[in-house]
């Protein structure tokens, strides 16, 4: 790797997730230091710390705006969870579809709908938190991830408590396979929310 080229991913993360009003100047400063011989590790550390510092600063300046955005996001999320529990009950799923190509198409369509809902939630959070939109969208994503991890852990705990006799191999496979699916789904959801919240837009440097 060329030591004088700044890590592209760190720059991308800083540009899209950093919410300082001087974000472009921060990126420029880090690039200048990198071209003066600072290491990639130093660049990464500075980029991550700049992102965190900008979140903390914004959270201190506009706590109510951020809370309003996160609350609005959760309200839409709960409304969606309620609606989907009514619309996609097992009884509303025709049995003749099972095992056909139509089932796969339906699953893909459903996935698209779910991702669109995540994007819509991102948009709602962004619109209701005005100038603090980046921190609010990230805050909303962090709360959903925490909620997801707790929910997943609780589900597996209850399953193994009431389910089959415990065996380490099956337990690890269960966690890895289901956790893997949940992880991929969560990453797709995060990307959709970031997209809806406008955090993936490409902006030109000042």
């Amino acid at each position: 790797m060329n030591p004088r080229r700044p890590p592209a991913l760190a720059t991308w993360l800083l540009r899209h997730l950093g919410c300082s009003p001087n974000n472009d100047a921060v990126v420029g400063d880090l690039m200048e230091c990198q071209s003066d011989g600072k290491s990639s590790l130093w660049y990464w550390r500075q980029a991550v710390s700049a992102i965190l510092a900008s979140w903390v600063s914004q959270a201190k300046d506009h706590p109510w705006l951020i809370l309003r955005g996160i609350t609005a996001g959760w309200m839409v999320n709960w409304a969606w969870l309620f609606l989907s529990s009514v619309l996609f009950r097992e009884s509303s799923y025709p049995k003749w579809i099972v095992g056909t190509k139509l089932e796969i198409a339906l699953m893909l369509a459903l996935l698209l709908v779910v991702l669109s809902v995540h994007a819509a939630i991102g948009w709602v959070v962004s619109r209701t938190s005005a100038e603090s939109r980046k921190t609010a969208v990230i805050g909303y994503i962090l709360t959903t991830l925490m909620f997801g991890v707790v929910q997943f852990g609780l589900q597996r705990f209850l399953f193994w408590r009431a389910g089959p006799p415990f065996e380490w191999t099956i337990f690890v496979m269960d966690i890895v396979i289901l956790g893997g699916f949940a992880g991929v789904f969560a990453i797709a959801g995060v990307i959709a929310t970031l997209f809806g919240g406008g955090l993936l837009k490409n902006r030109k440097a000042q």
Binding site: P6, T11, G18, S20, P21, N22, D24, A25, V26, V27, G28, D29, L30, M31, E32, C33, S35, D36, R45, Q46, S49, A50, I51, L52, A53, S54, V56, S57, A205, Q206
Partner: protein
């Protein structure tokens, strides 16, 4: 009697260091030299992001003002943002200095031992 600053205007330790670095650097004060000056004098690692966070707070309080400077290729075409201390900022630094000196004096534990 000295006018007391409003509680929100009180300077944190780091904000005071940033302001002192700004005064030292004069016209050349932007993110990189400010963090380098604090690093060299304090001997601690300084994050450029936290320097900007402090500068933004100080700008909101009216203690510094900023202006965009030149963009260079080494900065990926991004402009520098230069900072300058305002009259209000200078007054606040003097007030903090006086307060610290008054608090410092007359504490035997902090007096330098004569060799």
């Amino acid at each position: 009697m000295n006018e007391m600053p409003r509680p929100n205007d009180a300077l944190s330790n780091f904000e005071l260091m940033v302001l002192l670095a700004l005064i030292r650097l004069g016209d050349e004060a932007y993110g990189v030299p400010i963090s380098a000056a604090i690093e060299s004098e304090s001997g601690r690692d300084v994050s450029i992001g936290s320097v900007y966070a402090a500068l933004e707070r100080l700008e909101t309080k009216g203690f510094v003002r900023s202006a965009l400077g030149e963009a260079t290729a080494a900065r990926g075409g991004r402009a520098k943002r230069y900072f300058e201390i305002t009259g209000k900022g200078l007054k606040e630094v003097r007030h903090t200095q006086r307060t610290l000196v008054r608090l410092w004096t007359g504490i035997p534990k902090l007096e330098v031992e004569k060799t």
